[in-house]
Amino acid sequence: MSEKDVRAAVIGVLKSIAPELEEAELRPDRLLRDQIDLDSMDWLNVIVALHERLGVDIPESDYAKLTTLDAVVAYIGARRPG
């Protein structure tokens, strides 16, 4: 899976939680949760969906690393099985 595919999958997950998300308006280097207004329940749903769709298990202690869209894509890219 290329970085582009991972990015598309992550955006797909975010849209499933926040359907009003406009991809063009999302700045990949800005704080993700502030831009999309994700509360802790939404965020947990994002983590669960990333686990289900991409097979990556993200421990709670790593949440702090997932600040921006770029950071999430890099984190998943580095840990995806295969």
Binding site: E20, D39, M41, L44, E60, S61
Partner: protein, 362 residues
């Protein structure tokens, strides 16, 4: 004959539009079955029935808007058959009958709010107003309708309820550490949120403070032994809804997490149940998610208290003569002075604090 009436699904609802019937004439229903879907100003709600019987006749058709209390359908009680069932006898005041005749109102469709369910002139007038309103051809903007419903409920709260407000900063080191350890052991799908600990602590504390739980109706407080906690959920398209998780005091943390997650999902998808809308005996709002320090909440009538939680964050904390950084949360309470005093409210917040220092026992 059992009359199935449109229930009130919250202080901000005085009418509803029937969207769909879920039980056909001839179909058997039992307590808790969903028999209709009704659109309120806030959401489409699945309306449950609290009698057992057989659906006999639909009185209101899908698409019709009717006031709370209107008979939506008639059901046969178990053992009753349509030939022998006594027709539901309605009391109609002579003035109401005359008014209805003059204005061509079908009395079968008017909900009675007078003594013993009698139909009064006011009922007929109200029914006529609602029936006329949607004829203008304009589809009202959903957001605007919800805003005016929230405004009506909150204006009533501020007008009728003498609020008092208290707050307490609660150290959350133990709860945070316990939750982190717990979640480390769990699969991603079984993780708990701090909100679950907060809800459980409120519910357990309410057991000792019945004067903060229940309804204020007809000039008196009706305490509730169960903590049906209304959870304020913001909707992504704007607006807010606060349906109940039932019997929070009796639920384990895992069960509570499932209930919360399910409730949020259904609130956002617009598939809530009538009992969830009408049952909350207290509300909890967790605005801290938005980054605020402290909430000054407004009670949702006819409830008598509301608890708010601000952001969980690292803050300076003095303990044993030393200053250190600790995760803390500000819990606030707005309560009804007709039922309780600030002293009771303060003890209640202290009890929530005490419970959160032993999260493993929740």
């Amino acid at each position: 004959m059992i009359e199935f009436k449109l229930p009130s699904l919250g202080a901000d609802m005085d009418e509803g539009k029937l969207l769909q019937w879920k039980a056909k004439p001839g179909e058997k229903v039992k307590r808790g079955d969903v028999v209709a879907v009704v659109d309120t100003s806030k959401a489409a709600v699945e309306v449950e029935i609290w009698d057992e019987g057989t659906m006999h006749e639909w009185i209101v058709k899908p698409g019709e808007t009717v006031p709370v209390g209107t008979v939506l359908a008639l059901l046969l009680a178990p053992g009753e058959n349509p030939e022998t069932a006594p027709a539901a006898r309605r009391r109609i005041s002579p003035a109401a009958r005359k008014y209805a005749e003059e204005h061509g109102v079908d009395l079968d469709r008017v909900a009675g709010t007078g003594p013993g369910g009698a139909v009064t002139v006011e009922d007929v007038e109200k029914h006529r107003k609602i029936q006329k309103a949607p004829e203008s051809g304009k589809v009202p903007d959903k957001g605007a309708v919800m805003r005016s419903a929230i405004a009506a409920a909150m204006s009533r709260a501020k007008r009728e309820i003498p609020h008092y407000y208290l707050s307490e900063t609660i150290p959350m080191l133990r709860a945070s550490e316990w939750l982190a350890r717990e979640n480390e052991k769990r699969p991603v799908t079984g993780r708990l949120l701090m909100a679950v600990l907060l809800l459980k602590a409120v519910a357990v504390a309410l057991g000792k403070f019945p004067d903060l739980n229940g309804f204020f109706r007809n000039g008196a407080h009706q305490p509730s032994s169960a903590a049906h906690i209304g959870v304020a959920i913001s909707l992504r398209q704007g607006g807010l809804i606060a349906p109940a998780i039932h019997d929070v005091q009796a639920k384990g943390l895992d069960e509570l997490m499932l209930s919360l997650s399910d409730l949020v999902k259904r609130a956002r998808a617009g598939s809530l149940r009538s009992s969830e809308m009408s049952d909350p005996t207290i509300t909890v709002t967790n605005l801290g998610e938005g980054g605020v320090e402290e909430v000054f909440p407004i009670i949702y009538p006819p409830q008598v208290a509301i608890v708010g939680f601000g952001t969980l964050a690292q803050r300076p904390w003095a303990q044993d003569g030393e200053l250190r950084a600790l995760p803390t949360i500000v819990a606030s309470l707005a309560a009804d002075h007709r039922v309780s005093d600030g002293h009771r409210g303060a003890l209640f917040l202290a009890e929530i604090n005490r419970l959160l220092q032993a999260p493993e026992a929740l």
